[in-house]
Amino acid sequence: MASAVVDRFALVLGHQEDLLLDIAERRQLVQHWATLAGVMVAGSSVYGAVLGYWRSPQMGAYAAIKLPLLLASTSLVTMTFNWIIAVALGIRVTFLQVSVLTTAALASASLVLLSLSPVALLFTLCAPAPSEHARATHNILFVTHTALIATCGLVGTEALWRFLRSVARSAGEARRAYVAWIAMFAFVGGELGWLLRPFVGSIYFPVVFLRGEALQRNVYEFIWTDILRPGISHLFH
């Protein structure tokens, strides 16, 4: 059992070249996908638990479910686009290859998150307890976790880049596909993260799995109407 878990993690960590070769040669794709999905869920679930723990253990349990859900749903929503854009750019890949590759990137990101979990837990346990006076703490934790997750996500895409470089006819072709994939992943991930909120847990609202108003407006509407437009108005008046 333990060695099976180590093997799964080793596939992402130590044998990434073998994995990318298998994907390129379309070997054991379904098996790899299942392994990588398992690593992704395990890694992001532990980090999610730490992420929500500051607000309450219940929030930690919710975030342990929602973070893997966020990664999986973002990859699911973007997969078709990723495949089509790669093929349109002249890269010969199958849908299954793209799906395994996307999961590999997320598994890498989740492993980095898992390795940072002890550090995140230390800072969470040392943070002032959640109360109406702890707004600054909430904001610091929110920004730090968001930045960490985004950075780990980018680190994970290293696998995508290496694969694209190996199968694309030119570096330019690989770069265009890579940028398109990352941009779409960030765009969709931002909205799904907004929809699945809260993760850290606001000090002004009760702990819930999902907010009641989750589907009322999207994150980009919120950024425009609540942040950018008032800012622009303030600048010009």
Binding site: L13, G14, Q16, S108, L111, V112, L114, S115, L116, S117, P118, V119, L122, F123, L125, C126, A127, P128, A129, V155, E158
Partner: protein, 239 residues
């Protein structure tokens, strides 16, 4: 021939054989850090690694004792216990991220080799701290300003971390990339500051204060209160 043998220094240990005893592995780590890693490819260096871990514990405790002289009395003992706690707490918390960062960056690590790298890292940190120990002791017994000694310890810690980080970088044979190690070192520095905040007070304890202060605090706040000129900065050590 007999004259020559009197002039020539004793032959250096063969790189293939592990140094024995308690001090020799530490000296080798300081003088030839590459030898440990070179040997670890072929032989089991767990015994040397354990010696390095114990050595770093002793070194950190000695440095802690010197730092505790700022207040003197029981604080010498308290700092002797807390300094290794800070070192090992930080190493334990940051070890998983070093393994994952370097593996993802391309380093081929086995658990055994990783353990030896961690031992070398801890050992060098301890040795460098011992190098700073007399200086730390001198300023601890001759200064009343806590902000000054805090800066001194931060400078010593950062310098020790620089050399220990260089060992990690060289041990990973550049496969992991210098940027990856630099990033990890920044993480390690922040974590060590936070661990020091958790086990506070390390340098100066108010009369009747507990061995470890309760209450949650970020290290930035703790450092801020030690540096803030608005707060009482002059302690009354050695009373």
């Amino acid at each position: 021939m007999s004259n020559e043998s009197q002039i020539m220094p004793p032959p250096s240990p063969v790189p293939g054989s592990a140094p024995t005893g308690f001090v020799a592995p530490l000296v080798e780590l300081l003088q030839h850090p590459d030898r440990l890693m070179a040997r670890s490819r072929d032989t089991d260096e767990l015994r040397t690694a354990l010696t390095l871990f114990i050595g770093s514990l002793v070194c950190a405790a000695a440095y802690g004792a010197a730092s505790g002289c700022f207040q003197g009395g029981w604080q010498v003992l308290a700092s002797t216990i807390k300094a290794p706690l800070i070192l090992y707490g930080s190493v334990a918390l940051c070890a998983p991220s070093l393994f994952v960062f370097s593996s993802l960056a391309g380093a081929k690590l086995t658990w055994r080799r990783f353990f030896i790298i961690l031992a070398g890292f801890s050992g060098l940190l301890g040795l460098l701290l011992v190098g700073f120990m007399p200086i730390s002791w001198l300023f601890s017994v001759s200064s009343n300003s806590i902000s000054f000694v805090v800066w001194l310890h931060i400078a010593a810690w950062c310098t020790a971390l620089f050399f220990a980080g260089r060992f990690v970088s060289q041990s990973l044979s550049d496969a992991a990339g210098k940027a990856t190690i630099a990033l990890w070192l920044v993480l390690f520095l922040a974590v060590s500051f936070q661990v020091a905040t958790v086990v506070r007070p390390v340098l100066w304890r108010a009369p009747g204060a507990p061995f470890i202060e309760s209450g949650k605090k970020f290290f930035t706040e703790q450092l801020g209160s030690a540096m803030d000129p608005a707060e009482p900065n002059e302690c009354s050590p050695r009373q």
